[in-house]
């Protein structure tokens, strides 16, 4: 009896030690990866800063220092924050509108075969329109303020979430659906308790993939007509051949997008409820 307990304990200890070894190896590996990344950034910045005039013309490529100065300057400009707020608001509205309609229509189409068959060609046709070509019309319909940009972003986001929701629900294992039917679900429960949760990862994937489209839609809209927003600022810098300013805005948008992506990943983990089983191999960090 005691023997067994002791050996069980030492078994646990061995397992703990093993997982600690794995964790240690993974940490060391990750540090190496980060280090390599930092080195790459460092050398690119070095080359960019001191290569101007020797390797390339700084007029076309700007310089990290110049970009930094503009960023510092912009960060003290209240109008810059207004522009971020404007772009952010338009993006949030466009994304929210497009994504909720996309998921709703994806659900309806997946559940309602007749509607899907009838409307399929129209959706494909509409999705084939380069959205930028729609922009002038949208401006006429929704004005030069928020409206046109929100709608432009929404038309882009809509299709991405729509198609992934549709595909997700259609791909739900039919055995699971049959089992649920036998267990007594009604159509409503089948949708909300089986089809929707079963396709959640597809839907979240659609939400993540469509996020950059929301920014693209808004920026393009601001580029065409606007008196505020990051796209407007970008346009302002580029039309005055201010390469550093243009780069600075590109960096701002990049960081902006990365923050949003991080937020979506966070929500994704929350929604799925638990992290997928962790891979013990330190090669996939």
């Amino acid at each position: 009896m005691t023997d067994i307990q002791i050996s069980a304990e030492s078994g646990d200890a061995a397992a703990l030690a093993e997982s600690a070894r794995f964790a240690g190896r993974r940490r060391r590996y990750q540090t190496t990866v980060r280090l390599a990344q930092a080195l790459i950034v460092f050398f690119v910045l070095l080359l960019w800063q001191f290569g101007g005039g020797i390797l390339f013309d700084a007029f076309y490529l700007g310089s990290p220092r110049g970009i930094g100065l503009i960023l510092l300057n912009d960060l003290q400009d209240p109008l810059f924050y207004r522009d971020i707020r404007v772009t952010g608001t338009e993006m949030a509205l466009g994304y929210g509108l497009g994504a909720s309609l996309g998921i709703a229509f994806g659900g309806i189409f997946a559940r309602w075969r007749f509607v899907a068959d009838v409307f399929d060609p129209f959706f494909v046709a509409f999705n084939s329109i380069p959205r930028i070509a729609l922009a002038p019309l949208l401006v006429i319909w929704f004005g030069i303020d928020t409206g046109a940009k929100v709608v432009l972003a929404a038309t882009l986001v809509f299709f991405v979430t729509f198609f992934s929701t549709l595909a997700g629900i259609r791909n739900v294992d039919s055995a699971l659906i049959n089992v649920a039917r036998v267990l007594g679900v009604n159509e409503w429960q089948l949708f909300f308790k089986v089809q929707l949760p079963a396709s959640l990862s597809w839907i979240i994937n659609g939400l993540r993939l469509s996020l950059p489209f929301a920014l693209i839609g808004v920026i393009v809209g601001e580029f065409l007509v606007a008196s505020s927003g990051l796209g407007y600022r970008l346009n302002m810098y580029s039309t005055t051949y201010n390469t550093n300013g243009t780069f600075a805005m590109i960096i701002v948008m990049m960081v902006f997008m990365m923050c949003l992506n991080g937020a979506v990943s966070f929500l994704e983990r929350k929604a799925i409820g638990r992290a997928p089983a962790e891979d013990q191999s330190y090669l996939h960090a």
Binding site: A175, L176, K193
Partner: protein, 254 residues
């Protein structure tokens, strides 16, 4: 109680039609445990798919207590070969799912699920997800998910098919005790003749495709049965040998 009359199913494909089953007649009385064996592809699953209401027969009728069967019904449960648990639900939420959809209060359905989970030896795993359970554990969950809402008839399609020999016997024993407790009517399909005799009151032998009833044997073994030792009984041996010959004939004609 369960009455199957002239049941036939023909699948029409692009280039050929397959007659899966042809003129099945069977009456199962209340509380009876009937097992079905037959060569692979003879239409066993097709019969259960029809009885569950998921598939319509080409010909024939099914009645439960005199009421014709139309589509799926809570009177008939179906335990499939694959556990088909919902991967996003924990064990207890999977098991209590049928009660959830019929509107049973959370506290009650949790306690009923907990009782069954304990009964089949899964206590402690209530909050595990299906991918954290072994095949045998998942199959136990699959069975009690059907038992929990007490359907009058339970159909089982090779529920122990993918399991190893020891787990099979343990689960056979478990199934018999669940059955004697719930007093449900069971129609159980298997490839395994020993399993068919060990569990059933009657064994239905199906012919090679198209599936017809080749013979029906009454199992003369007393209950409660000990599935761990039952193979030693001479009555078991005799029936096994008899059915084995029949089955061999059916497999040969394929």
């Amino acid at each position: 109680m369960l009455k199957i009359e002239g049941l036939s199913k023909r699948f029409v494909g692009a280039d050929k039609t397959v007659t899966a089953i042809d003129g099945i007649h069977l009456e199962v009385s209340s509380g009876e445990f009937v097992t079905m064996v037959g060569p692979s592809g003879c239409g066993k699953s097709t019969i259960l798919n029809i009885l569950s209401g998921l598939m319509t027969p080409t010909l024939g009728s099914v009645t439960v207590n005199g009421v014709p069967l139309k589509g799926v019904t809570r009177d008939i449960g179906y335990v499939t070969q694959q556990a088909n648990l919902m991967p996003w639900r924990t064990l207890i939420d999977n098991v209590s799912f049928p009660l959830e959809v019929s509107g049973v209060k959370t506290a009650e359905r949790q306690s009923r699920a907990r009782d069954l989970i304990k009964l089949v030896g899964l206590a402690g795993f209530e909050h595990a997800y299906p991918d954290q359970l072994s095949g045998g554990m998942r199959q136990r969950a699959n069975i009690i998910r059907t038992m929990i809402y007490e359907p009058k008839v339970i159909l089982m399609d090779e529920p122990f098919g993918p399991l190893d020999a020891q787990t099979r016997v343990v689960l056979q024993d478990l199934l018999l005790s669940l059955w004697s407790r719930a007093k449900s009517t069971i129609l159980f399909i298997t490839h395994d003749l020993q399993e068919a005799i060990g569990l059933g009151d009657r064994v239905v032998l199906l012919s090679a495709r198209p599936g017809r009833i080749a013979s029906i044997e009454h199992v003369p073994l007393p209950r409660p049965r000990d599935v761990f030792k039952i193979h030693d009984s001479p009555d078991f041996r005799a029936l096994f040998d008899k059915l084995w010959l029949e089955l061999e004939k059916q497999v040969r004609t394929e």
